[in-house]
Subunit: 306 residues, 2 copies
């Protein structure tokens, strides 16, 4: 269903590209710093004036507006999902006028949202209707902290990048993915995967959203306030991502509600099995449940390492 | 209820102590290597002959038996809980004959089990009946790996140590804890906490056992097999301790069944609240649930850092 491949080596370019960035939070800010560090011209916009002022001092050369759009090689939408779609709706005409995707002319637009079905459905439609190039993208990197102040040029170094191209014939699809690979090369992603919006959202509900929900739920026990001096690495790991941006995650999770609800149901059922074994005083059944998880985890690690 | 204090500085001793160790797995083996590295005489026993052979080559100077017991300054029980109690029952008479705890004569015995109520109840009883010194102990360190081969001298460096002394008058209690501090100094624990068996088990069910159950349950979703190229740090952290020793953990968890069952119930209820908000399409309720966990986590981190 999906393929992972090594990142392209980058290679020399005739001229430094112009990169447009919408939203200068942790993700957009890190793209801005990475491209600026690589010598690209970075133009950007953000609804927060203080953020724009800070970014214009050191990283961003101009405001991304209708005049700048046609000169961009790549435009990265790094706002919340709804805001990305809004920006795209407002600028679809300008993007279309500047583009001839079949000739590779005009900016390639990518988003960076953590959900793909909701964003890509509308973005693919706009791109088709107005004739510009759009590829869904999800850089698998981040920290517990948000905002431009925490952005850093090396955030994506070695990280996985997941790409979701529109439905095109094979030649056009490969050509488009190749352009995106080349444009992203200066940022230093470790691997690229290509998948569909539906598969992306099913997997991400499990690997990322569920991890944040479980970690966030973990700290709600009253015992959390009594553990000083008693916690080792396992507690630290389980609760690390309990600290999160509630507004952003609520939007992402609601856009992927069906998949995430199913995964929460699965872990609730799995947890209930351990509790039932404990309540029954059945040590052998508990041992078998733990052994099953241990076996699955080792198989996953072996597969990953092979 | 409990107090944490800095580890004692150690200080010069008249002569190097003799340390007895029962069980040379990850924990017992790491104590053996830490004390041997510090120049102590280490005597030990293990039911596995290959382990004993390996340990006698490099770390252990003699077998811990009835002749060696009276010469030990500290005896560390590092087998599974049931096996620790068995060893103590078999050697209670020898320990008693070698001891005059009110004068500080004879070995101090500590265990290292991850549960304290079950182990301490019987051990305190044996110590009182036979007249030797016993203090419950739980070194908060470990790895996903088990066995002597993974033991290392620095496993406890900087780690928290939880001590559970018997019911004694304040003077005798402080004297006993002071002996244990001094004897453990070469191992390098970062902090010592003192608590009761009941409080220890309530806290550890949450910080350690629940973390292992949740991590072990996490990998049971069928989606776990489909995530290649898609997982970031949050998934890695949540699933790290899914790999565990099922036999040991089943025993520890069954000895602390009531506390652990209650904590599993609490996280199931907490998780169900997120699922209900998702199923209702109620983004604001989901945001409030996430914000609550984020607030608790930040408060815990602030408290820890203060």
């Amino acid at each position: 269903m999906m393929s992972a491949q090594d990142a392209p080596a980058g290679g020399a370019r005739a001229a430094q590209p112009t990169i447009g960035i919408v939203g200068l939070g942790l993700i957009g800010g890190s793209f801005a710093r990475a491209y600026a560090a690589a010598g690209a011209r970075v133009v950007a916009c953000d609804t927060d004036e203080d953020t724009m002022d800070a970014a214009m001092i050191e990283t961003v050369e101009a405001v991304l507006d209708d005049e700048e759009i046609p000169g961009c090689d790549l435009i990265i939408l790094a706002a919340y999902p709804d805001a990305c779609i809004e920006w795209l709706e407002e600028h679809a005409e300008v993007l279309g006028a500047a583009s001839a995707p079949e000739d590779g002319r005009g900016p390639v637009v990518i988003d960076t949202a953590g959900v793909k079905a909701a964003v890509c459905a509308r973005a693919f439609e706009l791109a088709r209707a107005h004739g510009f190039a759009f590829v869904g993208a999800h850089p698998m990197a981040g920290t517990e902290h948000s905002g431009f102040a925490h952005a850093r040029a090396n955030l994506f170094q070695g990280a996985p990048m997941v790409l979701v191209p529109p439905a095109l014939d094979d030649t056009a699809r490969l050509h488009l993915l190749d352009r995106v690979h080349t444009l992203l090369a200066p940022v230093g992603f470790g691997t690229f995967s290509v998948t569909t919006p539906e598969e992306h959202d099913a997997v991400i509900a499990y690997t990322s959203q569920l991890a944040h929900v479980v970690s966030n739920a973990y700290v709600k026990s009253p015992t959390a306030r009594e553990h000083h001096g008693f916690s080792a690495g396992s507690y630290r790991d389980l609760t690390r991502v309990a600290h999160l941006n509630p507004t952003m995650w609520a939007e992402l999770m609601c856009d992927d509600a069906e998949n995430l609800s199913r995964e929460i149901g699965r872990i609730i059922d799995a947890l209930a099995a351990y509790r039932d074994a404990l309540d029954a005083g059945d040590r052998e059944r508990l041992r078998a449940l733990l052994a099953e998880g241990d076996r699955i985890k080792r198989a996953l690690d072996d597969e990953r390492d092979s």
